[in-house]
Amino acid sequence: MKRLTNLFVSSPHSRAGLTTNQVMRAVCYACLPGVAAQVYFFGWGVMVQIFLCILVALISEAIILTLREKPVRATLADGSAMLTGLLIAVSIPPLAPWWISVIGVSFAIIIVKQLYGGLGFNLFNPAMAGYVVLLISFPVAMTNWMPVQQLMTYDISLLDSIAAVFTDFTQDGYSVTQLRMAVDGITMATPLDNFKTQIDLGLTASEITNSPIYGQYGGTGWEWVNLGYLVGGLLLLKQGVIRWHIPLAVIASLFTLTLISYSITPDLTLTPMATLFSGATMFAAFFIATDPISSSTTIKGRLIFGAIVGALIFMIREWGGYPDGVAFAVLLANLGVPLIDYYTKPTVYGHKGKA
């Protein structure tokens, strides 16, 4: 017996496009080129962290959902927790100890996301809030970035990475700090970190960028990682998962400000291109600032939001205490979102000429 549907459904009677679950997954997949580059340059530690962070994210989300008496399986399936875990994993140093990841991810999921009401209700970007908490609480561990593998004395295998993450030492007994020693015995920092330190020491930009940690445009390896995220971001744009306004505004504002700064004080500033292709610039522009929940929703608002993020990144890098400033820039911009949204409401049909 066939029957009519007994459900009352308000029009429209169809839908199209990606679902929320598909959106979250699409973002995860779009991370792959960047992740691949990161693994290539920074070793298996990246994979270890991704695995660890996603696991922690899912577990903490499940726990909190159970406590809140919400459907666990259906909510986990939306992929948002997985995405948060992934974004934190690629942000923290590849060989950071395991408890760093656990604290960061569980803070992001439990405090920043779920305590605000879960998916769609968080004021701040969970991944960046988790990252900032780690950065402030554990500055040493969080700045222990590996130099790119190609510059390192030791080869680090997958098992070495796992051991380093969970025991602080590789199988051969090297600590992470020892691993960071370069060929010449100098501790290697990230290019942005290094640049900041050297500028403070009185060196000029051109002198600093002679070091092997700087590549064609940005830092060695970092430029490829950024390129990877750029490619992934363009894929997202093409799929319609994100809109062009925020990434463009971030990049344009960062580029413009750096260009101005560079043209005034070329000795103290990285080239605009180097700025775009070092640190987490592309990652921030396409994957962090575009988080729909904590970013602006109107078209004008998105442009303003992106420009604020770009400007803050520039300011923190140029004048701030941290080498990269993506997380702070995004969180600060998040704060302004309600205000931006309120003042950038589009004019509704028929309301032209009215206040």
Binding site: K2, R3, L4, F8
Partner: protein
């Protein structure tokens, strides 16, 4: 000793300055608002039913302004409590069931063949929504009736019913849709 005096002096000076500023501001930038009672009264449903224990909405508004609970108004229900909570800056609480339950909107209906024209309901009606004169049949003006219930008790022949108001606004509710077989 000297420092102490300086500190004291500074504090006193600050007190005077801020006091003056605040006093000036309170006069100069005084917000002209409706008196609180008026605002509360505007939120109440004006059924004048007295279920709150006060003889009408205005007296209850006055009582709320003087600190009475905001959850004594069954006709207003949760919506009114929420608005009152917003206005008074207190937490919304569930309706006090001692004063009745929230119900569908009703109006009084006089069974006219049984009405004896005693005018008692007319006297009871707080909004003059009952028409009629002594010894002639009475009837309720549905549009004016607030559904307060007050006319039911005085009727000596119990010919007044409270009937649910037929709500003409369909709220796109999704309930009670039948299943139909097509073949």
């Amino acid at each position: 000793m000297y420092t102490l005096l300086i500190a004291l002096g500074a504090l006193v000076a600050l007190t005077i300055i801020f006091g003056a500023v605040l006093g000036f501001a309170s006069v100069k930038f005084k917000v002209e608002a409706d008196p609180l009672v008026e605002q509360i009264d505007n939120l109440l449903p004006q059924t004048q039913c007295g279920q709150c224990g006060y003889p009408g909405c205005k007296p209850y508004a006055e009582a709320i302004a003087n600190g009475d609970d905001i959850n004594k108004c069954p006709p207003g229900g949760e919506a009114t409590i929420k608005q009152l909570a917003d206005l008074m800056g207190v937490d919304a609480k569930p309706l006090d069931s001692a004063h009745g339950e929230e119900d569908v909107k009703k109006v009084a209906f006089i069974r006219e063949d049984e009405c004896i024209g005693c005018t008692k309901c007319i006297q009871a009606c707080p909004v003059d929504a009952i028409m009629g004169a002594s010894k002639v049949m009475h009837t309720v003006i549905i549009d004016e009736c607030t559904g307060c219930d007050l006319c039911v008790e005085p009727c000596p022949v119990d010919c007044i019913d409270m009937v649910p108001l037929n709500d003409t606004n369909w709220k796109w509710d999704t309930l009670a849709i039948p299943v139909k077989n097509v073949n």
